[in-house]
C-alpha cells in the first residue's frame, strides 16, 4: 500500500500494560514544581515571585527570545519558592514551586469558549502562542513557530504512530476524544493552508484507526494505516511513508513541503483555540513492569513523578531504571523528584529483567545495526571511530550528524555495544568544534566590517 522506510526494529511493545486503561484524571497534588525550561529554545524567566498568589492558566514564565514557549500556572495557589529543582532533561533547572490552594480557579477571562471558524489565522496563531504549546511527543519545539513555516507547505502529517514501546497516551486520546483531535487538525490545516492532511497510525492500534476513520468521514482528512515498526513515528520516516518525500540531509520537513504534528499537540491546540485555555495539563502513560497499576493519566504540569507513581499504586517491584519518555529514546532519571513537563509523554519504571544486558563486547560486524538504521548509516563504524576518537572520520565519511538517535542500532546489537552513546560523544565533540570555529570567525568578520 504505502512505501515503507528502510531499517527499523520490532521491539516488544509492552503496550498491553496500559492500553486498555481509560484516561484517568489525576487530582492536582499539593505542591507543583514548574520548570522554566520545558521547550527547545531560550529558558523562560519567572514573572512571579515567592509569595504571589496565582490563578490556573496565569502566565508565570516568559522570555523575550523568539524561540521559546510561555509557561502558565497549572493550578491556583501561592508561589512558595523559586529555586533550582531536578529536571528530567538537564539535571536541574530554575522552577516556580506552587502550593495548590485546591480551588482550581482559572485566571480572569478563562476559559474562553469561541468558534475558531470565526477567527483569523493570525488570531489562531496568537492563541496557540499565548497558550505555550510545544511538541508534546517529546520534541518540545514551540508549536506556533512550527506553524509559521518559511517555505510553502502542502501536507500536514499527524503522528499517531506512538511507536515507542509502553506508551499508550496518544492511543487513548485518539480512542476517547477523536472529535477533539479532528477539530485540532482542521484548525491546523486551515492555518497552514494545506491541501492534504493525513493521520498515520500503526496497525497495532486498530481501535484508534476505526475511531478516527469515523470521526474523519466526509471531511477530507485521511487516516493511514502504518506498519508497526519502530521508529515509524520519527518525522522523517512518517513523511517518507505518507508523502513519499525524503527530507534532505540536514533539512527540515518544510523543505519538502510538510509539517508534522503529534496527536497530543493537536489536541492541546484544539483546547487552546476553542476553549481558550493555556497548556496546564497533559495526558501521559505511567507504566513499566515495576509499576503496580499502569495507567494513562491526565496530569497537571509540575506534578512530581513520585506523586504520579504513587497515584498508580507505587512500585510493585524494585525498579532498576526510571525513565522520562519511552524506553527507546527516553532519559534515565536520577530521582523521582523530577516534575512532569509539557513534553512528558510517559513515566516508565523498568525492572532489571528488562534493562539488563550482558557486558559490551567487540563488534562482530554482523551488520544488524546497518540493517536496522533508518537513516542509512553504518552505526558500527560510527561507534568504532568514535571510540578511537576519530570524530572527523565520523562526520566526513560516515554521516555522523544525520543520526537521529533513535536507538535501533544499540537495541539490535548482539555485542551490546552502546552505539548511541558513542555517537552522542562524537556529535558533542563535532558541535563543540563547530562552535569554536564560529567563535574564531566572528571577531574576524567584525574587523572586516570596520575596515
Amino acid at each position: 500500500m504505502f512505501r515503507s522506510f528502510l531499517g527499523g526494529i520490532h521491539p516488544h511493545d509492552g503496550k498491553e500494560l496500559a492500553k486498555d486503561k481509560p484516561i484517568q484524571v489525576m487530582p492536582a497534588p499539593k505542591e507543583l514544581v514548574v520548570p522554566m525550561s520545558q521547550h527547545i529554545g531560550a529558558p523562560c524567566t519567572p514573572c512571579v515571585k515567592a509569595g504571589d498568589l496565582v490563578k490556573r492558566g496565569q502566565l508565570i514564565g516568559t522570555s523575550p527570545a523568539f524561540m521559546h514557549a510561555d509557561i502558565h500556572a497549572p493550578v491556583s495557589g501561592k508561589v512558595i519558592r523559586i529555586e533550582e529543582r531536578p529536571h528530567s532533561g538537564r539535571i536541574s533547572c530554575p522552577a516556580v514551586v506552587i502550593e495548590n490552594d485546591g480551588e482550581d480557579s482559572w485566571a480572569d477571562g478563562l476559559p474562553l469558549e469561541r468558534d475558531w471558524r470565526a477567527m483569523t489565522n493570525e488570531e489562531i496563531l496568537n492563541a496557540i502562542q499565548s497558550a505555550g504549546i510545544v511538541g508534546m511527543g517529546g520534541a518540545t519545539f514551540p508549536a506556533h513557530i512550527k506553524l509559521k513555516p518559511s517555505k510553502p507547505v502542502d501536507i500536514l502529517i499527524l503522528n499517531g504512530a506512538e511507536c515507542e514501546p509502553y506508551l499508550t497516551a496518544d492511543y487513548r486520546l485518539m480512542l476517547e476524544s477523536p472529535a477533539q483531535v479532528v477539530e485540532g487538525i482542521q484548525i491546523l490545516a486551515r492555518v497552514l493552508g494545506v491541501k492534504r492532511s493525513v493521520i498515520g497510525i500503526e496497525d497495532n492500534k486498530p481501535e484508534a484507526i476505526d475511531a478516527l476513520k469515523k470521526a474523519c468521514a466526509g471531511i477530507g482528512i485521511e487516516v493511514a494505516t502504518l506498519k508497526t515498526k519502530y521508529p515509524q513515528g520519527a518525522e522523517k520516516m512518517l513523511i517518507k511513508v505518507l508523502a513519499d518525500r525524503e527530507v534532505p540531509m540536514g533539512g527540515l520537513p518544510m523543505d519538502v513541503g510538510a509539517v508534522v504534528q503529534n496527536i497530543g499537540t493537536v489536541a492541546a491546540i484544539a483546547d487552546a483555540v476553542v476553549r481558550g485555555v493555556p497548556l496546564t495539563e497533559r495526558i501521559m502513560t505511567v507504566s513499566g513492569d515495576a509499576i503496580a497499576e499502569p495507567k494513562n493519566l491526565r496530569v497537571r504540569i509540575g506534578t512530581k513523578y513520585s506523586a504520579a507513581i504513587a497515584f498508580c499504586g507505587g512500585f510493585k517491584e524494585e525498579p532498576d531504571k526510571l525513565l522520562a519518555g519511552g524506553p527507546m529514546m527516553g532519559m534515565a532519571q536520577f530521582t523521582d523528584e523530577v516534575p512532569v513537563m509539557k513534553g512528558s509523554s510517559g513515566i516508565l519504571a523498568l525492572t532489571r529483567r528488562l534493562t539488563e544486558h550482558g557486558p559490551e563486547m567487540n563488534c562482530i560486524r554482523c551488520g544488524r545495526c546497518v540493517k536496522a538504521c533508518p537513516m542509512g548509516l553504518v552505526p558500527s563504524m560510527l561507534s568504532i571511530l568514535s571510540q578511537r576518537q576519530d570524530f572527523a572520520a565520523c562526520r566526513d565519511s560516515y554521516g555522523l550528524m544525520n543520526c537521529v538517535e533513535c536507538g535501533c542500532c544499540t537495541y539490535i546489537c548482539p555485542a551490546k555495544r552502546n552505539i548511541v552513546q558513542y555517537i552522542r560523544n562524537a556529535k558533542g565533540f563535532v558541535r563543540a568544534e563547530m562552535a569554536r570555529a564560529k567563535a574564531k570567525e566572528a571577531p574576524a568578520k567584525k574587523e572586516g566590517a570596520k575596515a
Binding site: 528502510l6 526494529i9 521491539p11 516488544h12 514501546p165 522523517k236 517518507k240 525524503e246 527530507v247 534532505p248 540531509m249 540536514g250 533539512g251 525498579p319 532498576d320 531504571k321 526510571l322 524506553p327 527507546m328 529514546m329 527516553g330 532519559m331 534515565a332 532519571q333 536520577f334 530521582t335 523498568l350 528488562l354 534493562t355 550482558g358 557486558p359 563486547m361 567487540n362 563488534c363 562482530i364 560486524r365 554482523c366 551488520g367 544488524r368 546497518v370 538504521c373 533508518p374 537513516m375 542509512g376 548509516l377 553504518v378 554521516g399 544525520n402 538517535e405 536507538g407 544499540t410 537495541y411 546489537c413 548482539p414 555485542a415 551490546k416 552502546n418 548511541v420 552513546q421 552522542r424
Partner: protein, 327 residues
Amino acid sequence: MSEYTISSSPHIRDGETIPGIMWRVNAALLPAAAFAVWWFGVPALINMVVGVIFAVASEYIWQRAMHQPVTAFDGSACITGLLLAMSMSPVLPPYMVAIGSVLAIVVVKQSMGGLGFNIFNPAHIGRAALMVSWPVAMTTWTKMQDMSAGVDAMTSATPLNILKLQGYDALLSTFGGQANLYWNMFIGTRNGSLGETSTVLLLLGGLYLIGKGYVNWVVPVVMIGTVGLLTFVFGPAGFFTGDPLFHMMAGGLMLGAFFMATDMVTIPMTVKGQVIFAIGAGAITVLIRLVGGYPEGVCYSILLMNALTPLIDRFTKPRIFGAGGDK
C-alpha cells in the same frame, strides 16, 4: 548516589547475544559433522575434538595471559576449531590439527585484537598455513573402495582430483555413471575433507542459519551459482559443456559457501557488498579449479575476498537517508 541506574538510551535490548549466534552456528555444523564420523570413522571424530579443544584452550590461555575478559566459551573459538578440522582430510595426524587451531586462534584472531578484528577467517588461515607446512599430509585422503563396477581396487583420490588428473569420463566411470555420481555427492558418500562431503546436511545447516537471520541467503546462493555458471560455460569440451551440478557439490564449496563465506566478521556488511564478495569468491574458486594448479580453490578464494572486504565495505556504504539519488 542515584536511586536508579543511569545510562544512555535505549533502555531495552534485543535478546540476541554473540554466544547465542555462535553456538547456533556450531549447532548448524553438527549434522555434517555427525555424518563425517559415520562415514570416515573415529579419526574424523578425533580430529574435530582435537580442533575444538585446542582452539578453545588457546583462546582461554591467551586471554588469561593478556588479562583480557575471557570469551573463549562464547562459541566462536569452537566454530574455528570445528571448521578447521572439517575442512581438512580425516586422516591428517591430529597434532597437525592442533597446530592449525592454535595458529588460527593466536595468530589470526587474538593477535589482531580478538573476535571482530580479524580480517581473515581464522580457520582458513590455519588450513592454509598447514597446507604450506605439510603439503603431502594435507593432500592425503582416506583410502576407500573404488566404486566403479567390477573393479575391486582402493583409491584415495577425491572427485576433484580425479577430474583434474584423469578427466571427466574417468570421474563418471569411478562413480558408475552420472546419476550415481550426483547421488553420492549429494548424500556425502565420497572422498574429501571430513566435513565437506554431505551436500544435503550442509544445506540443512545453512538453511537453519538463513532462517535464523544469521546468514543472508544471497551469499551462498550467489557464490554457488557463480561456480555453477562458470563451470558450465567453461566446460572441458568447449563452451557450455561443463557439469555445473558436480562442481557445485564438489570440494569444499558447500561448506565454504554456507559456513565460511558467511562468517560475518570477515565479509562485507551490506547486501551489496556481500553480493560482490560472493561473486568474487565463486569466480576465483572456478579459476583455481579449472586453470590453477590445485584441484580445489574455495579456501583461497574466500581468503582473497576477505582481504578485499574493507575495500568493498568502503565502496558499498548504504545511501544515507535524504542524500538524494536512488531511493
